[in-house]
């Protein structure tokens, strides 16, 4: 930036530089040029989140008649809060929510731990044919969609008494394994083996090496794997609906399907229920966004 106030040409550049540096931020406050391109992009990105959220909130406060009048954006006046009570009652919300949390928690924990263990064994024994082929075997499961094996799974889970949320969680772990192992093995190959050798020199067993050294080092990839596993199990509809036999132990997405079928639509009650399902995640994010964001940048700097 030019500084027209300084006229002395003879002034040494070295002397001027720090002077200008200290002044520059002060002078720019409030006068910065707005980057319109970036602002518009960010606005568009914000709209993609805000508009559906707006519709969700508005719809959940509408009466039955307002909900089907073909105008999703209209303001719901008078406000109708009874939709939340109806949704809560119809879905038996706390129970369905609890089952969903249980399934997701088991699926995430199981996927991360089992995949990490398997990947460690495979990568460090790559020279053995058994481990190499088991890697390909596990990867092959990626080409196996659930609907293909659904009938057999329903029959088998029924036979061994796993036709409940625990069985659903186990199956989620199984279907999530191959992709997670792919991620973990790629990451493990980039970890220096010398670290493990030094642990061995200090007398660590294979188990200790894994739990105290390798698993913590895998943390960034574990987070990725956990996010994928969480999304897959939290949002899944088909598997719980087919596997769980006791309707009282059904997950949230399955229970929520009762709001809409071919012939009728209760958008207002449905959206009230969706909002309640979303609320915990939003509330947690509001209070923890500082840590979430700091976690993101921390990874970036390293």
């Amino acid at each position: 930036m030019s500084t027209p106030t300084i006229t002395t040409v003879a002034e040494p550049a070295a002397q001027r530089a720090p002077d200008e540096k200290s002044r520059r931020p002060r002078r720019k406050v409030g006068q910065e040029r707005t980057s319109w391109g970036a602002t518009i992009l960010l606005l568009l990105a914000a709209v993609t989140v805000i508009v559906p959220l707006y519709v969700t909130v508005m719809m959940s406060l509408k009466t039955d008649a307002q909900a089907v009048d073909g105008n999703a954006f209209s303001l719901p006046l008078p406000l109708d809060f009874s939709t939340f009570a109806r949704a809560w009652e119809l879905t038996d919300f706390p129970r369905a929510f609890g089952v969903s949390v249980f399934v997701s928690a088991v699926a995430v924990a199981g996927t991360v731990i089992l995949s990490a263990l398997a990947s460690y064994a495979i990568v460090r024994n790559w020279s053995h044919r058994l481990f190499r082929w088991s890697f390909f075997y596990l990867l092959a499961a990626m080409f196996l969609p659930f609907p293909v094996v659904a009938l057999a799974q329903i029959k088998m889970t029924g036979t061994v008494g796993l036709d409940n949320p625990l069985g659903v969680a186990f199956l989620h772990i199984m279907f999530q394994m191959s992709f997670s192992i792919l991620l973990f093995t790629a990451f493990l190959r980039s970890l220096p083996e010398e670290l493990e050798e030094s642990a061995r020199l200090d007398g660590a067993t294979t188990g200790q090496t894994f739990w105290r050294l390798v698993f913590p080092l895998l943390a960034p990839m574990s987070a990725t794997v956990a996010i994928f596993a969480f999304l897959a199990s939290w949002n899944d509809f088909m598997m719980p609906s087919l596997i769980t036999s006791d309707p009282a132990l059904q997950t949230l997405p399955v229970v929520q399907s009762l709001f809409q079928d071919q012939f009728t639509a209760n958008y207002n009650v449905a959206f009230a229920s969706y909002l309640m399902a979303m609320a915990p995640a939003i509330v947690v994010y509001l209070f923890t966004q500082r840590w979430v964001l700091s976690g993101v940048t921390q990874g970036a700097i390293k």
């Binding site: 073909g70 036709d163 625990l166 036999s245 012939f263 009728t264 390293k302």
Partner: protein, 425 residues
């Protein structure tokens, strides 16, 4: 990598993790067991969303009326999965269709010929069950509620324009032309939802033209021979009705291809069109925005003989008890409760359906009362679109014809699909 000190300081983490898993698992298993208090618990499957509340009330009425059986409502299970697993519901009140008939055909449903209602069911209605499949020597399915679908029309518009309900195809075309001349959209189409064309335009034009039950009977016999040379085929028998179906486009709203079921209901409530090819389920949806709309029903005429008029019916709800149920007696007790005239008739009256007993009272709601005489005289047919196995994507084909595909080519594809399916199974 903030997690590393945490794990390094806690060598027992593995045990903690596994312990936690185990505890969670036990919680899940325990939740499955509930004390039944000396009563027999039976699972009752009923998944029709709009009548859930009504059934919840019926169940609590039944549960408090006696102390032997406790009914537990299941509205979210996948019915096929329960049969595969070997723990189907003890009793179900469920839409009866071709997919459900497969279970009956293979003897998965127990014989109910000795329950008290069995002898009172109208033979024409019981015949609807047999059109899909039968199991020798058994009455496996008790029809409980029948819905009749036809052309919903706006009575105010018809009166203002001085129009009579058409009884022949010629009269129908005249009504449509008169409405067009008056600047009113005659028919509201919602082609974005393929099922609305299949159960409306397609079923009405085919079902109004000839005996569809007989047609599908022959199609089943011909099976692998279906094609250009067979005695019956989609190409041969459906061509004329399909031409008429596509002709309905002329009198429909211009934007029908981009309109869905929800928009159609709203438009009919707002009086934007005179006619709507939907069943009674649409009436309750229209009621949400237009509680005072004066609507009526008439069967779509396909010939020039008023005696050929027939309405489309479907077994909206039918009762059955699976062979595998361990508590058939308790289930039958609940079945007897549901088939009490006052329980059954109240439901049918309230939800615009028709009774299945010979002495069932007539439907009084003016919106569907016009269909009563057709139903009483047995002038009805089951939707032909429902007689085509889901393996053949008929709804998609029908939508394609409606929006411009060649009728001849599409029907030939349907014949080919039918033949391939017959060869395969």
């Amino acid at each position: 990598m903030t997690a590393s000190p945490h794990f390094l300081n806690r060598p027992v983490s593995r045990r903690a993790v596994l312990g936690g898993l185990g505890a969670l698992g036990v919680t899940g298993l325990l939740a499955g067991c509930a004390p039944s208090g000396g009563r027999t618990d039976i699972t009752f499957f009923m998944s029709k969303t709009e009548v859930l509340e009504h059934f919840t009330e019926l169940i609590s009425e039944f549960n408090s009326s006696q102390s032997n059986v406790r009914v537990i409502l299941d509205s979210s299970s996948n019915i096929a999965a329960t049969f595969v697993r070997g723990n189907p519901p003890d009793i179900a009140c469920f839409t009866y269709n071709l997919e459900m008939a497969r279970f009956m055909e293979r003897g998965a449903l127990s014989d109910l010929s000795d329950v008290s209602i069995a002898s009172q069911i109208r033979p024409e209605v019981q015949e609807l069950v047999d059109q899909y499949a039968t199991y020798p020597g058994r009455t496996s399915v008790i029809p409980w509620s029948v819905t009749a679908a036809a052309v919903i029309y706006n009575q105010d518009i018809f009166e203002e324009q001085g129009l009579e309900v058409p009884r022949t195809w010629t009269e129908f075309t005249e009504v449509c032309e008169a409405l067009v001349a008056a600047g009113i959209t005659p028919i509201y189409g919602t082609y974005r939802d393929p099922w609305t064309i299949a159960q409306g335009h397609f079923d009405y034009t085919v079902g109004g033209s000839f005996d569809t039950a007989e047609f599908f009977e022959k199609m089943k016999e011909q099976g692998p021979q279906v094609g250009i040379d067979s005695s019956v085929s989609f190409q041969k028998d459906f061509f004329e009705p399909m031409e008429r179906m596509v002709q309905l486009n002329e009198w429909s709203n211009q934007n029908a291809a981009s309109r869905g079921y929800g928009e159609g209901n709203f438009a009919m409530g707002a009086g934007e069109a005179a006619m709507y090819m939907q069943g009674p389920w649409a009436l309750t949806e229209i009621e949400k925005t237009a509680p005072d709309a004066r609507l009526g029903n008439f069967p779509l005429p396909m010939t020039d003989d008023p005696d050929d008029l027939r309405v489309r019916v479907n077994l909206d709800l039918a009762l059955w008890i699976p062979e595998e149920s361990q508590k058939k007696d308790a289930a039958r007790e609940f079945l007897e409760f549901l088939t009490k005239p006052e329980v059954q008739d109240t439901y049918n009256q309230q939800f615009l359906a028709f009774g299945t007993r010979q002495d069932a009272p007539p439907q009084e709601d003016p919106r569907v009362a016009e269909l009563q005489s057709f139903y009483d005289e047995g002038r009805f047919y089951q939707g032909p679109s429902k007689a085509i196995p889901l393996t053949i994507p008929a709804e998609g084909y029908i939508q394609a014809m409606m929006t411009g595909s060649s009728i001849e080519g599409t029907l030939r594809t349907m014949d080919n699909d039918w033949r391939r399916l017959a060869v395969r199974s």
